[in-house]
């Protein structure tokens, strides 16, 4: 087994890549996919700690993150569909109506 640090660094790198994806992509679906990437990086951290501390709580936490991520992806995609029907575009820059 690798030292714990390696897993933490790996998940931090994936998390950072997810953050970059949310910021620079102008397509709502890819933004949602980057959010899923961030959630998975966090899952990896949980499992790594669960292994190194011998605790079951980490795995239970991942179970719940999985369920919540499923619910969030479903609602996010439904929102994207209804927004697309209104604006005919998936670009976040086109949805600035609420900006002052």
């Amino acid at each position: 087994m690798m030292p714990l640090n390696y897993y933490l660094i790996l998940s931090a790198v994936v998390f950072a890549i997810g953050v970059i994806g949310v910021l620079i992509r102008r397509n709502l679906i890819v933004v949602l996919m980057s959010i899923e990437l961030m959630l998975n990086a966090v899952n990896l951290t949980f499992i790594a700690f669960s292994r190194y501390l011998g605790s079951a709580v980490g795995q239970v936490a991942v179970f719940f993150v999985l369920a919540v991520a499923a619910a969030e992806a479903v609602i996010g995609l439904a929102i994207i569909i209804s927004v697309f029907r209104q604006r005919q575009s998936l670009d976040p820059q086109d949805m600035q109506l609420l900006k002052w």
Binding site: P3, L4, N5, L10, V30, A71
Partner: protein, 167 residues
């Protein structure tokens, strides 16, 4: 370098490559497939970390159902090729990436956190362990999660339904 180290670095490299492909590819369907491969690699990493139940749940739920839903929506909406992001966003992203990198480097050299993993039994990470934890210690969050999923289903159906104009 022994076998498990080699496997870890191989999987880590593939995972970082897949994540970069998710973020930087032009075609949305290709991005979705790159995310599927990233999820599968993470599931393999779960299995190497003695969490086989969660690894297989990840494949079933995340890679098998959620990403199929993503692909459905992509095919349904058929988005055009995206435009280039402005310079403001690229520089913000670079600054953030550098900040995160600055957090990582001390982590890498901090060897006090690392230790040998606790010796694990066959019970650890198995379905029995997860089931015992879920139904004894965490039964309330479990029930709330099921209600949450029901709410998500209803919400998605309501949001995505086409408005029928009643004449």
């Amino acid at each position: 370098m022994d076998f498990s180290t080699f496997v870890f670095f191989l999987l880590a490299g593939l995972l970082v490559t897949s994540s970069l492909l998710v973020v930087f590819l032009r075609n949305v369907v290709h991005c979705a497939l790159a995310l599927v491969s990233a999820l599968l690699i993470i599931a393999i990493l779960f299995v190497t970390l003695h969490a086989p139940m969660l690894g297989v749940l990840q494949v079933m739920v995340y890679a098998g159902a959620i990403m199929v839903l993503f692909l459905f929506v992509i095919m349904f909406l058929n988005p055009a090729v995206l435009e280039r992001a402005g310079t403001l966003w690229w520089s913000t992203a670079t600054v953030l990436a550098v900040l995160l990198g600055g957090l990582l480097v001390p982590l890498f050299f901090n060897n006090e956190v690392a230790g040998d993993p606790v010796a694990s039994t066959e019970f650890f990470g198995s379905p029995e362990m997860l089931a015992k934890s879920l139904f004894n210690d965490f039964v309330l969050p479990f029930e709330i999660a099921s209600v949450l999923l029901l709410v998500a289903i209803v919400g998605a159906v309501v949001l995505a339904k086409r408005e029928r104009v009643v004449r």
